[in-house]
């Protein structure tokens, strides 16, 4: 079984914080892109069954419906997608009820909606093109269309955000009872409009409070945290994302998409024209050390961490012996737990980069 990722790099408008591979104003290229990605899917050499499919972006739903449907069909034909977790990302007000029905008809059974905030001023600051009401409408339409597995992306650390406004966002979103909530902290990346703007960002203490509040509030309201930023009702965690963290095989199609197949990583061209005209995937054969490093830092993203015995078996190492210095140091600081599994504590999560980097 394999995971399939399809990248649709188009948006109505790029957000101020976005450093993903996506474009606005590229309407003319959408058809050519569709042809190319279908060709890439159909030419994939190995026949495999998929158990997860994820359409991400960009905003996949900004693609014309007939084009989107053709790509979905190509995936369905190539990989036996029956009983799949089939997710598509959508932004509020980029889909109609009719469109949602069409997606359902083609096997899409999970919808991930980027709401980010329930405060319209904050949405504006982020450069989003929708209001919170737009989200509620889209959410209800999705329910009407039969989507019984919906994720809402929310964000903290937004310019001008306060702990109270974040609390309200959580309440307003939870009230709709999505099955899954992703809760990310805003990170100002180089090359984004935010990078060069003077922003009134919540200070680190407040951000930490926001995160801790989200963790306990979502727990109280019946969401189980299974990864640094992901929360789900029982049994509703995102199987596709778990594949990334557990280093299962996955194939990525489209601009800049990555694949991991038996410890070989491929990455498509990141330049749109080059991808369409002559995609040359980069190939990287991961060494055991690379794989181990990934195993650790991806595994630590999960709330449960990862099983030590399993890792020892895969990489033929004595885990404690190899990382004694780091383990002892962080155990002493209460930033990790170490038993059958190794995992980050709540405090460990907020400084996870530092901890992970020491395992590299």
């Amino acid at each position: 079984m394999i995971g399939v990722y399809v990248h649709i790099p188009f948006c109505v408008k790029k957000c101020n914080y976005c450093d993903f591979n996506s474009f606005d104003n590229k309407n003319s290229l959408k058809e050519r892109y569709t042809e190319k990605i279908i060709e890439e899917i159909e030419n994939f050499k190995v026949d495999l069954n998929a158990d997860t499919v994820f359409f991400g972006g960009g905003t996949p739903t900004t693609l014309r419906l007939d084009l989107l449907e053709r790509i979905i069909c190509a995936v369905n034909n190539k990989f036996n997608t029956k009983n799949c977790e089939f997710t598509i990302e959508a932004n509020p007000a980029t889909v109609t009820g009719e469109g949602l029905l069409l997606l359902r008809k083609n096997g899409v059974n999970r919808l991930s909606i980027g709401v980010q905030s329930a405060n319209n001023d904050e949405l504006k600051a982020l450069g989003r093109i929708h209001s919170f009401d737009d989200f509620v409408t889209t959410f209800n339409m999705a329910r009407d269309a039969g989507f019984d597995n919906i994720n809402a992306d929310i964000m903290f650390g937004i310019p001008n955000q306060t702990l109270n406004s974040f609390k309200k966002t959580l309440e307003d979103v939870v009230r709709l009872k999505p099955e899954h909530i992703s809760c990310y902290s805003l990170i100002i990346e180089p090359g984004t409009p935010f990078y060069n703007m003077k922003l009134n960002l919540p200070d680190e203490e407040t951000e930490r409070e926001m995160y801790n509040y989200a963790v306990s509030y979502l727990e109280q309201t019946g969401y189980i945290q299974y990864e640094i930023s992901n929360f789900a009702k029982k049994g509703m965690s995102c199987k596709h994302n778990i594949k990334y963290w557990e280093r299962n095989n996955y194939i990525g199609f489209g601009l800049g998409a990555s694949s991991l197949i038996d410890n070989v990583r491929y990455k498509n061209s990141e330049n749109l024209i080059q991808y369409i005209e002559n995609n040359l995937p980069e190939k990287e054969i991961l060494t055991t050390d690379d794989a181990l490093a990934e195993h650790i830092f991806l595994g630590l993203r999960k709330t449960e961490g990862f099983n030590i015995k399993e890792a020892e078996k895969i990489y033929n190492i004595d885990f404690y012996k190899k990382y004694k210095y780091v383990i002892d140091k962080y155990l002493k600081l209460d930033l990790i737990t170490y038993g059958e599994n190794i995992a980050l504590t709540k405090d460990g999560v907020s400084v996870s980069n530092t901890i992970m980097s020491e395992f590299m």
Partner: protein, 598 residues
């Protein structure tokens, strides 16, 4: 026979054009073709050329056909210009009968002009003043001539007015040398007596001695004795130097300047200032003035990467082959691991060595704050010398301490006098006197503790006078002083590499500033780090590096793990440049940032 020899050197303040004039003299006497004429040929170390300073003396022999129709052999002995190398300068001067005194036509007399002039006068040299840079629009040759007469007290009205850069007046200088500098005296029949003024290690010939023969002669096959060390060697080669290298000859005779190679392995056997004589027929009295030079400034030098300890030892050993005044011995620091305590003649010497280690030997270094030698008198009557603050006994065992003092002469425009007096007072200076050189310039004479000038005194002096001040100093003895050891603590643990010995009155201020500097230099870590300055058990200053709150990966998107991995790897790379001090990671820069507190 030695009537046609002239042994001379050139003395000047830094940047007054000494090296350029040397080039022109060589060019004019025709020993170099234009192609061979690299700029400033006497300074053949890269570093010297770049910094425009001469570190090691060199001697060159040229032939000049003078206007009187006779042919003269001119031996130009180049001298280091900086105060750190004062002793080397004085030995070079002792090898000469005359000195060309170069003064910049717009700058006039500066601190080093005077210091070098006094050295020359001490060595009974005939001074030949020369006014350089007369091509500059700001040149005031008459003012400078008067200044030379008033300040130094030698006639200067008929001094050659030259521009070494433009090649103007060079022959005038050569004529002056021939006319004014006396020929060497001496007796070829007396036992050999030759002064070592420099030596260096050659990979093929062993140590090469540069010397000036005062009496007698030396030839291949002779057995020489070095009088200070008593060691004897068989002479393999003698000769003189032209600008392009060594020219072997049959012998070196009275009045001549040249080199001796005698398969000597160790440069420290051939001490500058020592006398060379013959083992068979030794002279009774060595030439006057020899003394062993002792380092005045010390610091710890550590490899940034502990794995390069042996490389550092190797490099220091190689540098020492050519620089007997550099000392080093192994030391261990809890914070920095294995390294060396190195001794230098002064601050510039220290900087030069550090730079050469990094440049020529490609080493990444961490250096600790420079220290001087303190005399520590213990209550049990014992007396010890302290060159490393870590070795200072506990306060209760100390009866009293002494610190080295220097006589400092600062020359500056009158406008800045108030400013600089204030600086000297801050540095615990004792005012001696002030002399007006003319209506716009004065020389300030202060007695200052050496430990107050080894940090950033020179920088402070320059910045407070817009670069117009010049400065020169000489060790003048020890003085009883109230000194304490200032320790820095990170997360409660003392960092030995950051300890300093300071005057009691300065401890609080310095401790506070260092704590502030460390706060800037140490990145936030997973826990709060108190930075404390302490004297004994008393905490006198405190800062805190707050704990890091947020350091999280963004959304891992579309399986793009590689990018995240690179981020983490980069973070890890950054850590490699850190030193683990107890539980705290300290960047190497932090150890150095405490040196610059102004």
């Amino acid at each position: 026979m030695s009537d046609n020899i002239r042994n001379f050197c050139i003395i000047a303040h830094i940047d007054h054009g000494k090296s350029t004039l040397a080039d022109r003299l060589l060019e004019h006497t025709g020993v170099l073709t234009a192609r061979e004429m690299e700029e400033q040929i006497l300074d053949n170390m890269d570093l010297e050329r770049e910094r425009g300073i001469t570190i090691k003396a060199r001697a060159v022999r040229v032939v000049y056909n003078a206007r009187d129709g006779k042919q003269y052999i001119l031996n130009l002995i180049d001298t280091p210009g900086h105060v750190d190398f004062n002793y080397e300068v004085s030995r070079s001067l002792a090898a000469c009968e005359g000195a060309v005194l170069v003064v910049d036509a717009s700058q006039g007399i500066e601190a080093q002009t005077l210091a070098n002039t006094y050295l020359a006068i001490d060595n009974n040299l005939e001074l030949v003043p020369v006014i350089n840079k007369i091509d500059l629009p700001s040149a005031q040759p008459q003012v400078v001539k008067d200044e030379i007469e008033n300040v130094i007290g030698i006639p200067a009205q008929d001094s050659p007015l030259i521009s070494a850069k433009q090649g103007i007046g060079i022959e005038e200088v050569l004529e002056k040398i021939v006319q004014d500098v006396p020929p060497p005296k001496g007796d070829i029949d007396k036992p050999l007596s030759a002064l070592i003024f420099d030596s260096y290690y050659d990979a093929y010939k062993g140590v090469i001695i540069y010397c000036r023969v005062f009496d007698g002669q030396v030839k291949v096959g002779d057995t020489i004795r070095l009088m200070a060390t008593g060691k004897e060697f068989d002479v393999v080669e003698v000769g003189y130097l032209n600008p392009l290298g060594m020219v072997p000859s049959n012998n070196l005779s009275v009045g001549e300047v040249g080199y001796i190679a005698a398969s000597i392995k160790n440069v420290s056997d051939t001490r500058v200032g020592d006398t060379v004589t013959l083992a068979q027929n030794p002279t009774k009295e060595p030439l006057p003035g020899y003394r062993k030079v002792n380092p005045m400034v010390f610091c710890g030098i550590y490899p940034a990467d502990g794995a390069h300890y042996e490389d550092l030892r190797d490099a220091l050993g190689k540098l020492q082959l050519n620089d007997a005044s550099l000392s080093f011995e192994p030391e261990t620091s809890i914070a920095l691991g294995f390294g060396f305590r190195c001794g230098f003649l002064g601050l510039l010497h220290m900087e030069i060595i550090q730079e050469r280690l990094e440049r020529e030997y490609n080493l990444d270094l961490v250096t600790t704050a420079p220290s001087v030698i303190y005399h520590c008198f213990k209550t049990n009557g014992e007396e010890i010398d302290i060159d490393n603050p870590t070795n200072l006994p506990p306060a209760v065992e100390i009866a009293y301490m002494e610190e080295p003092m220097v006589d400092a002469n600062i020359m500056l425009p009158t406008d800045y006098v108030g400013n600089i007096m204030e600086l000297c007072q801050q540095r615990r200076g004792i005012y001696k006197d002030m002399k007006y050189l003319d209506s716009t310039r004065v020389t300030l004479h202060y007695e200052l503790p050496l430990n107050e000038i080894i940090y950033d005194f020179f920088d402070a002096l320059k910045s407070r006078t817009k670069g117009y001040a010049s400065f020169d100093y000489e060790l003048c003895g020890y003085q009883r002083s109230s000194l304490v050891k200032l320790d820095m603590l990170l997360n409660g643990e003392m960092v030995d590499a950051l300890s300093l010995i300071v005057h009691t009155d300065k401890a609080y201020e310095r401790g506070r500033r260092i704590a502030e500097k460390l706060k800037e230099a140490i990145p936030r870590q997973l826990f709060e780090i108190p930075i404390q300055a302490a004297v004994g058990s008393k905490i006198i200053a405190r800062e805190t590096v707050k704990a890091m709150r947020k350091d999280v990966l963004a959304k891992c998107y579309g399986g793009d793990i590689t990018r995240k991995k690179k981020l983490l790897e980069k973070q890890k790379e950054g850590k490699k440049r850190m030193r683990q001090v107890g539980s705290v990671e300290v960047p190497q820069e932090a150890f150095m940032s405490v040196l610059k507190l102004d």
